[in-house]
């Protein structure tokens, strides 16, 4: 769900109460970190699990939050979303169904 996975507040890692100034500062900081290749800046947390963060996403997020209507929508989603989720461990490979090889199954 794009509204959650790419929510500007999640992309910037800020709460929906953040002021305009805080948003701009955070965006600049993240762009700088991404430019320098900091591992901590390369992902952000969402209720759907971690997502890769790019400079384009950060720029789009801060641009969206400058528009009052877009910010209203982003706040609506971000305020009521469940807390961000950690990456789920890879599932154990499930064993095949009871394997009776009575007919050839290459």
């Amino acid at each position: 769900m794009r509204q959650l996975a790419e929510n500007p507040f999640f992309v910037l890692g800020l709460s929906p109460d953040a002021s305009r100034l805080e948003l701009e500062r955070e965006a600049q900081k993240l762009l700088g970190m991404l430019e320098l290749g900091f591992a901590a800046a390369k992902t952000y947390q969402t209720p759907l699990g971690p997502r890769p963060r790019t400079a384009e996403l950060v720029r789009a997020a801060v641009a969206a939050l400058r528009d009052p209507y877009q910010r209203l929508l982003a706040e609506l989603w971000a305020r009521h979303a469940p807390p961000p989720r950690e990456a789920a461990p890879a599932p154990e490979p499930t064993s095949a169904a009871p394997g009776l090889s009575l007919w050839p199954r290459p």
């Binding site: 009052p68 469940p82 009776l100 050839p104």
Partner: protein, 515 residues
Amino acid sequence: MYALPYLIFMRIHRAALDARRRDRTWRYFAWSVVAGTTAALLVAVTLALAATFVRVGWWPLALAIVVLFVVPALQPIVQRRVLVRLGAVRAAYWIGRSVAIRDSEALGLVCAAWAHAGRPTPAGEAWLAARRDRRAPLGDAEITATALVAAARCDHATARDLLRSLERVVEVHPAVRELAGEWLACDCVARGAWDELAADARAARWPATSLAYLLEGVALRRTGGDVSRADLIARWLLAPHRRATYALLAIAAPPGPPVPPVPIESTAEPVEVEDPAPGERASWPRAIASHLELVTGTASSRSLAHAVRAWDAALGDDAIRTWLARRALELGVDDGASSTPLDDTGAPLGAVDRALRAVARAAADELARIADAAALGAPLTTGGPVGDALARQLRHGRLDSLEAGFTRWAERRSTGEVRAPIDEWREWCALRAAYDAAIAAGGLELRRLAFPHAYTTGTQMAAWLWNTRKEYALSHAISSWLLAEALAVGDSEAIDVCTRNARLAVPTRMGTVKP
């Protein structure tokens, strides 16, 4: 004169096999014993005769009678134990042909495909395809051979669908159906689909080989069917691969008493429960949590209905409207016009509705995508914005794609594009599966909307396939299906036409079938 006893025994042997196909009672065992005894007698007498010929130096004659009389009697064992393991496609074809009397090529083709599945090679597949395409019109043997070739490519889903589609084909080669049923039974066991196999057994969909009969017994016993342990052991003794199937006797225990269902813990609270104090933060988190549960988990009708109701409740929540209006005012949301009037809360009129409409659209779009992927129907709603939008999207999207599919199919009549009969059959099966999935999801309303177009294109194609392509079984399958659909939606004109078409006698290689 000397051959008369042999011919009598051969006749009894075949009669026993035919009788066995009709029964799933104690007679199955009796006929199996008769068939086995006659086969043993035939082989023993012929071998004794051949030994005599060898002793007097007539070894070419000895060889000839062994090939002519022993190999057909031992064909099931030779096929299963030798030819399949070797992947001897051509030998399986010719030995298979030697067994059947009527349309012997059909069994030969299927035996060859079975051998190919044992050790697949590109050359074997090409040879089989050439043999199959030479046979017209399409019948159950061509479909079964194609399914086994698909299984050889590890495409078990296609093989399963093709073999299941045999139920719609009027041409019946009992030996071919037996092998199709055995493959499906083994496939059910490999997938652990015991209920599916038990349903096949209860409906007696396929004539059972001794192996299929055993597997059906295990499935029935596991699902609470009336199969005793002694019956199961008798089936096991009769079946091939006793060492491999011995383990099945242990797992064929009758089901225990039903376990009361354990309530599933859900991250989202059920919507049906009235919140004593619904507030700004109650309905929205609940809607988003239900939505996320659907996105990240396995979609079911229940979870979809849950998410839709949660969204409709959230979007109609007065507390959220008040919050949105206040926040729109604080942020200075402009509605696009400088003279935008303010509502009674002082917020720009329309900002709240615009935001709620955007959320409803986003939620409905994603729910429609999930419902489509999982072939789920629109849940019954009481007219909320998400429920209505979802129902509209699903109905229109499914109807459009169905109509496009049927139109493309029928266009071939005019473009003159001729496909191999098996490809025609596969396309028809795919269209029917899409139709069934859409109907299952959309209910009777969608069925009534979809039928007229399916009927128009279907009758045109059925007539073309019958009159021009001479594909009688394929055409009959389409007409029968259209009749069943016409009856379901109550279209009297279509019922008349389809009844006439479906009652036409169908010429097949096994004789004319009068439905």
